[in-house]
């Protein structure tokens, strides 16, 4: 279907179901239950799942296929955000102007940075991209204040031109009148589901970008990128010039990052320099490795995993812990809370770090490898119980 083989088509369908059903699937606990704080089905977080999913899918096209590890992709994220906010300021709040511009400017930036950085490979490439991203961050933070509004961050003011702004037009980001921060709520029994316009916009973009990634992975171009990772010498002695291939991959992944940055500003009409900081570049590396480098679905899972931890674990505080362990004798309760304390709230990074180490050591292929191992385990059990039904392994 649509130029995909059977396996990819079913993967695409799974992603579509997950993306469109997220507001329901991520809200498994009734609102009043104690577990409600583990619900992830609220618009703000779901938007982040989709946006960082796009960011990581794009990053994986570079890192997963060619093996070039960029530590500067946050720069493109920031460029995308600034582009969209500028379009709000100059034209109006319709995101249709800003998003294509975000992709285009990120593409131009990626072309410049990639052209220089790709003269080196391995660790030197990573350091070059890191240097460029930190330069961009510092420029945005101070020197380029007239364009970026420096520390305050770029935002829309009432005196901005907004030449296309109509009299009845919404005063926040929208797509032809579909206002991003509007939601409809559905209450069923103890459950409440929020269907947010902004989230669904992001989800549709995610699906399109995921489809594009499938096409790139399966195309002759994708095969060439894997060839670069596998053997650069043979590549050159097969009459192929590796550099434009790597540069094209770099620009494509930069454009994905620009789009993700643009979507951030489409959800919340702000853009700040901190989006370009190296921690943001490192985060997307973690997402990709955690999910499964070089796999299609891995980066999306990794992005979801990290954002879930960031938002859910960081909200748990000592009071909640005391509530959970109140059945224990007082001294023991305090002790257990004392032990768990460093891993929650502001300490969620510690939990994430430990999980990341465990995944890298025991599941080098990331969450996707974990899934495959589970599947094998289950199918083995099936084989034992019913040998007649076995199909040839792939």
């Amino acid at each position: 279907m649509l130029g995909m083989n059977k396996k990819d088509t079913s993967l695409m369908i799974v992603v579509a179901i997950l993306a469109l059903g997220a507001p329901i699937l991520l809200n498994p606990f009734p609102v009043d239950s104690a577990m409600a704080q583990f619900n992830a089905g609220y618009p703000d977080l779901m938007q982040r799942f989709a946006i960082f999913g796009i960011f990581a899918i794009g990053f994986n096209i570079l890192f997963g296929l060619t093996g070039y590890l960029s530590f500067g992709h946050a720069a493109f994220l920031g460029v995308g955000s600034y582009s969209v906010v500028w379009m709000y300021k100059l034209l109006d709040y319709n995101v249709i102007w800003g998003l294509p511009l975000a992709v285009a400017t990120a593409g131009v930036f990626a072309l410049l940075i990639g052209y220089v950085s790709l003269r080196r490979s391995g660790i030197y490439f990573s350091i070059l991209t890191l240097a460029f991203a930190q330069m961009s961050f510092n420029l945005a933070y101070s020197v380029l204040t007239p364009i970026t509004n420096g520390e305050t961050g770029l935002q829309v003011y009432t005196e901005d031109p907004q030449v296309l702004l109509g009299a009845t037009e919404a005063n926040s980001p929208h797509l032809f009148g579909l206002v991003m921060n509007q939601s409809s709520k559905l209450t069923m029994g103890g459950w409440e589901f929020t269907f947010n316009n902004g989230y669904y916009f992001c989800a549709v973009v995610l699906m399109v970008m995921f489809y594009l990634a499938i096409r790139i992975f399966r195309s002759p171009f994708g095969m060439m990128l894997r060839a670069i990772k596998s053997n650069n010498t043979r590549m050159a002695y097969t009459g192929l010039n590796p550099r434009p291939y790597a540069l094209a991959a770099f620009v494509i992944s930069g454009m994905y990052a620009g789009l993700a940055g643009g979507l951030m500003a489409a959800m919340d009409p702000l853009a700040g320099a901190e989006r370009m900081q190296w921690t943001a570049s490192g985060e997307v590396v973690l997402m990709t490795i955690l999910g499964g480098t070089g796999t299609l679905i891995g980066p999306v899972l990794g992005a979801g995993f990290i954002k879930y931890f960031e938002n859910i674990f960081s909200k748990i505080n000592d009071n909640i812990l005391h509530g959970w362990f109140s059945f224990l004798p007082d001294g023991l309760e305090d002790f257990v809370v004392f032990i768990i304390h460093p891993f929650i709230g502001k300490g969620w990074h510690l939990t994430l770090g430990i999980l990341f180490m465990l995944v890298v050591i025991f599941l080098p292929g990331g969450l996707v490898e974990g899934g495959q191992r589970l599947k094998k385990l289950v199918s083995k059990k099936d084989d034992n119980s019913n040998t007649a039904k076995t199909e040839p392994a792939e």
């Binding site: 790139i216 095969m223 192929l240």
Partner: protein, 251 residues
């Protein structure tokens, strides 16, 4: 005029004169062997032919055009393919993908952005790669990871990948180094078959005299960076100068 003309090529690495005044002419549709003791400069010469090294002096002409100063991929696109001492293949890719890549390189040149085209729409290239695998007797290994094959199979695949580009000159750098006898003989048979059936010139650097005398139409002996003799195999066998170079003066 040969298809490959090397004139007065010299190359110096610091205090070592690796090559000096190398003259070599490889005739079209022949198998030309370059032999010589260790350190004679065989690999340096080969690297000068494919663009990995640039000689300090002299010229290298392929089919009337200079190859000097061109990048390896440009020289390859001119029609020179190289087989390495240790097989250089795309280890993480399947055998079929390994074969598809040179087929695309032949059709599309050194770079083409076919990012969202489906492999299903590239029937001509896929068919060519499949035919090439059949030629190489590897059709049954199509979906194998190429890194997991034996040394002999990797060599066979690498030669097949080079042939898929329909080169006019095939350079082989000790193609049987480190191979078992059976694999060596298979490789000799394969190369014989290639030179008989195809419109191709082969230049081969080799240590193993068995391989050299089974294949070569013409032999150049290199010693201490300069050609000692160039002659037909029969004459090389009995040449006292060659013995001297290989076995030392007292032999």
């Amino acid at each position: 005029m040969g298809i490959l003309e090397v004139k007065d090529v010299g190359k110096r690495f610091g205090g070592l004169q690796a090559l000096s005044e190398v003259n070599l002419s490889v005739k079209e549709n022949t198998v030309h062997a370059i032999i010589g003791p260790n350190g004679a400069g065989k690999s340096t010469l080969l690297n000068c032919l494919v663009g990995k090294l640039i000689p300090d002096t002299g010229s290298v002409m392929f089919d009337g055009q200079s190859v000097l100063g061109r990048k390896p991929y440009e020289i390859n696109q001119m029609g020179i393919s190289r087989v390495f001492q240790t097989p250089e293949i795309f280890g993480e890719l399947t055998v079929m993908e390994n074969m598809l890549i040179p087929c695309f390189a032949k059709r599309d040149g050194s770079f083409r952005m076919h990012a969202i085209e489906s492999m299903m729409n590239e029937k001509d290239v896929v068919e060519k790669a499949e035919a090439m695998l059949v030629d190489m007797n590897m059709a049954d290994k199509k979906d194998m990871h190429s890194a997991s094959m034996s040394r002999g199979d990797k060599r066979r695949l690498e030669i097949g990948m080079c042939l898929a580009q329909e080169p006019r000159l095939l350079l082989l750098d000790e193609p049987t180094a480190g191979m078992a006898r059976a694999d060596t003989n298979n490789t000799i048979d394969l190369l014989k078959q290639i030179s008989d059936e195809r419109d191709i010139t082969i230049a081969i650097i080799e240590h193993d005299m068995h391989v050299v005398f089974s294949l070569a139409d013409r032999i150049t002996v290199l010693a201490q960076g300069t050609p000692l003799v160039e002659d037909d195999p029969e004459n090389i066998r009995g040449n006292p100068k060659v013995r001297e170079a290989y076995l030392g003066e007292t032999a």
